[in-house]
């Protein structure tokens, strides 16, 4: 089943006074099926964040369209967009984006509260989720009282609590030490195995290696694609190959 479809996506940024135009994305198309775990790799400035923003409906493409569960983003009214995002998408950010004035429990419940869900639904969903993520002891704590890895797990819980069709993760391991990174990646693999679709933008080869498919973006278009043939296959060497091919294209590696 197809969850997300990106068709001929193009994005041009204009500088504020209309002078220069920067093409961030040029003609990108791909689709993501239910239950997939896709990583998007690319150097800084390759356009991967722009792509993620548009998949998140936070930014509008100049041309092309994005469909989530068959609905085109462009067809959703502006005032419906937030609740659409809330109900269908879950976000995990590099810098966690937890609110310091909420404790962990309230941070996780935030999307449900904003949707005006009944109190018992919140209770029913919260407990099993935090048990899976191993943060049930942290519920009363505040973001500034816990470690980065714990914060990211709390952020993952916030993304998962609405049972979204798609989790969008933007460099989720970017601010974590290697142990916390591994834990988070294992967590992602676990929830993916349960059937959760994940799209993750990352720099890290180790993170991308956990995905079932990796898309490589260079200069605003898809450069290459690597997929696992079997669930246990280690695609890290393939990723390295593509990366060196990408950097060999005349540009020096960062």
């Amino acid at each position: 089943m197809r969850i997300l479809e990106v068709k001929n996506l193009k994005k041009i940024y204009k500088t504020r006074f209309g002078g220069n135009q920067v093409e961030a994305l040029s003609n990108i198309s791909f689709s993501i099926d239910h239950g997939e775990y896709v990583a998007i790799m690319g150097e800084s400035g390759s356009g991967k964040t722009t792509l993620l923003n548009m998949m998140a409906s936070l930014d509008k493409p100049t041309e092309g369209s994005i469909l989530l569960n068959g609905t085109t983003y462009a067809d959703i009214r502006e005032d419906q967009l937030s609740s659409f995002r809330r109900d269908h998408l879950g976000f995990v950010f590099q810098d966690f984006n937890l609110l310091d004035n909420f404790n962990i429990k309230d941070n996780i419940l935030l999307p449900l509260v904003l949707s005006g869900r009944p109190r018992n639904e919140m209770k029913e969903k919260l407990l099993p989720l935090v048990q899976i993520l191993g943060i049930e002891k942290l519920l009363k704590k505040y973001p500034y009282e816990i470690s980065g890895g714990q914060k990211q797990r709390a952020a993952a819980a916030r993304a998962l609590i609405t049972s979204p069709s798609l989790i969008l993760a933007d460099e989720p391991t970017g601010a974590l030490d290697s142990r916390s990174s591994d834990e988070l990646l294992k967590l992602f693999s676990d929830i993916n195995r349960e059937g959760q679709t994940i799209v993750m933008v990352t720099h890290s080869v180790r993170a991308a290696g956990c995905a079932s498919r990796v898309l490589f973006i260079k200069d605003g278009s898809i450069f290459s694609e690597v997929s696992k043939q079997s669930t246990n296959e280690d695609i890290t060497p393939k990723i390295f190959n593509v990366l060196s091919a990408m950097s060999g294209g005349g540009n020096s590696h960062e």
Binding site: A56, F91, N101, L114
Partner: protein
């Protein structure tokens, strides 16, 4: 590092931070111009010569000092907000290689530019509006003030010196701020993670208790002159309670709301309550300051407005007749001459004398009922009483007739310690021909005692058989004629060395006094208000910056712009209007006390006092509402700009 660079840096800094600095500069200009106006009025030669004018001069001098102190405090406060926001900027300069002494030079240049511009603009506005202000004051006090049209050099010099000193102090404060922080901290500026505020239940309960106690004290005041301790106690209690309630009570209340899960986990309340918790932690002191200032402003406005508009009431309360003449018995000839003059000249002014009362007697003080408190009494010879009431009563030597406005004194005998005599009260009179002056107002109740001329109390009457002679009457005719004639009589009486009380001359002098008070009250209210608005403006702006991140995250997590804006609006509404609401509540409970206080000035028109307080509160609320709308716009611009770029996931 050359001077030119610093100059350019200072100018671009000011331009770049215009939105931040402009309200501050505008306030400075307003304050400077008001200061100049007050100072130049205190030197107005016309005020020197008129009755009550000296009070107005003193008031203006007081205003001048008050304004200087308030200016320093408030400008320092507003400036600290600006500095907090700009720390990052200075941190960057520091990293870029400017030394602290260079930054100091940049700030010095900025201060010099700002000070020069605001003092100059303030003086120009002050000088320019002086004519209108003088005209307004003339109108309020009902006497034409001369306006020379020249710039008062003394006032201008005083203004320049005062504000140069104030701005220098602020500059020194800024320098200290830069000096005491290291570059890393400067770069971070205000953005340091904050812990969740703790609910201090004890303090919250203490605050509530103090508030109730203060209100009770305020309501229990009977005679402000005697109960001065209670008045001060009430003010102190309510002030402390205000701080405690804002600091501890607000947080305790919000936590209480948060613990009600069914209430808290609602889209409307969720972000608001958690946001407010932090807002209150940072702003409690500021909000309590604003609340206290508001209460003070309302208090000043209520008293001055009701005093001014209650002048005719005060006059009527103090004088039962339009003109009252009095003279010691030895000046009998002079008094009859003056009366003759009045009779002869009243026709010239096309006036009639009506309600003429002529009597003798004297005002004394003694402990009559032996309760070790002295009582005021008016002792009138029997003959005078018989004449006033057209009776022919007779009394034994040790007998008196008594009229008492209060129920306090009702013993059968009265003792006069001074002359060591005791007299028997033959009768407590139901009414008395003289109106009981201001006995009904408060405290100063006076007994009227009628005694035979040859009685035991004869010693009080002196050798002439009477201590004082009184001649009182009303005038009938046009108001302006009455007023003119009153002044003529007063002048005559002065020539004779007699005492004259005229409602008209008294009203005019009250007009000057209370008008001056009102005028100063308006100016003080303006200053307090401008500064309150200024501080709340900066408060909101600095909060806007603090909230920026929060609202960005909220939008990413799925809060719509609309929801964010409604949250912002309600948050500002609460932060904005809580001080004024509490101030109004304070005023409501202070009103009974204010009424009793105003009785000192013989002003007891409750309706007028309530009306003036309501009008003052309404006026403040309206202007404040305008500031609110302005602030909200600026805040929203900062906290949740409507551009799409806000939604971008990473920078």
């Amino acid at each position: 590092m050359n001077k030119k660079l610093f100059r350019r840096l200072a100018v671009t800094n000011l331009k770049k931070n215009a939105m931040m600095i402009l309200p501050y500069l505008i306030t400075c200009v307003i304050v400077v111009s008001l200061f100049y106006i007050v100072t130049s009025l205190s030197a107005n030669s016309g005020l020197n010569t008129m009755s009550g004018g000296n009070l107005v001069i003193d008031l203006m001098k007081f205003g001048n000092r008050l304004f200087a102190i308030l200016s320093l405090l408030f400008l320092l406060y507003a400036n600290s907000f600006i500095m907090k926001r700009r720390k990052k900027e200075f941190g960057l300069y520091h990293i870029l290689g400017l030394e602290k002494k260079h930054i100091r030079q940049v700030i010095l240049l900025e201060s010099v530019i700002c000070s020069f511009v605001t003092i100059a603009c303030g003086l120009i506005i002050g000088v320019g509006s002086n004519k209108f202000v003088t005209a307004a004051l003339s109108k309020i006090i009902g006497t034409e003030l001369s306006f020379t049209g020249f710039v008062s050099v003394g006032a201008a010099a005083q203004t320049i010196i005062t504000f140069t000193v104030i701005f220098s102090l602020i500059f020194l404060y800024d320098i200290r701020q830069i000096q005491t922080t290291n570059p890393a901290e400067l770069l971070k500026g205000g953005q340091i993670g904050e812990k969740e505020p703790k609910a201090k239940w004890l303090l919250a309960v203490l605050g509530l208790g103090l508030l109730l106690y203060g209100y009770t004290l305020s309501l229990s005041v009977n005679d402000p002159e005697k109960d001065i301790k209670t008045v001060v106690g009430a003010i102190v209690c309510v002030t402390i309670a205000t701080y405690l309630l804002f600091i501890a009570g607000s947080i305790a209340g919000l936590k209480l709301l948060r613990s009600h899960e069914n209430f808290y986990y609602k889209p409307k309340n969720f972000t608001l309550i958690s946001g407010m918790l932090y807002r209150m932690k940072q702003n409690a002191v500021g909000l309590s300051n604003i609340c206290i200032l508001f209460t003070a402003t309302l208090f000043v406005m209520t008293t001055t407005v009701s005093l001014y508009f209650g002048i005719s009431h005060s006059v009527a309360n103090q004088f039962s007749r339009d003109i009252s003449l009095s003279a010691p018995a030895s000046d009998k000839e002079k008094l009859s001459e003056l009366v003759k003059f009045i009779e002869k000249n009243k026709k010239l002014h096309s006036l009639q004398t009506v309600n003429v009362q002529q009597y003798t007697g004297g005002k004394f003080e003694d402990d009559l009922n032996e309760d070790s408190k002295s009582d005021n009494f008016f002792l009138m010879p029997l003959e005078s009483y018989n004449r006033l009431t057209s009776q022919s009563l007779s009394l034994a030597k040790d007998e008196v007739l008594v009229f008492s406005g209060s129920a306090a004194i009702h013993s059968d005998t009265l003792s006069f310690a001074l002359n060591k005599v005791k007299v028997n009260v033959k009768e407590y009179l139901r009414q008395f021909p003289l109106s009981n002056d201001y006995s009904g107002i408060y405290g100063l109740e006076r007994l009227y005692i009628v005694s035979p001329e040859d009685g035991l109390l004869a010693g009080y009457f002196g050798t002439d058989g009477a201590s004082d002679l009184y001649y009182e009457f009303d005038l009938a005719g046009s108001e302006s004629d009455k007023s003119d004639f009153s002044y003529t009589i007063s002048k005559m009486a002065e020539g004779f060395g007699l005492t004259v009380n005229s409602r008209f001359t008294f009203r005019d002098s009250l007009n000057v006094r209370f008008g001056g008070l009102l005028f100063l009250g308006i100016l003080i209210s303006m200053i307090l208000f401008t500064k309150t608005a200024l501080s709340i403006f900066y408060k909101q702006i600095s909060e806007g910056y603090d909230d920026q991140e929060r609202f960005k995250i909220l939008e990413k997590v799925g809060m719509s712009q609309k929801e964010i804006r409604s949250t912002i609006r309600r948050q500002i509404l609460i932060v904005f209007f809580s001080p004024i609401l509490i101030a109004t509540l304070h005023l409501c409970f202070a009103l009974p006390m204010v009424m009793k206080l105003l009785k000192i000035a013989f002003m007891d028109d409750g309706v007028l006092i309530v009306t003036s307080s309501a009008v003052s509160a309404a006026a403040l609320l309206i202007i404040y509402g305008a500031v609110f709308l302005l602030t909200e716009r600026v805040y929203r611009k900062i906290a949740a700009p409507l551009t799409t770029s806000i939604g971008r996931i990473t920078g």
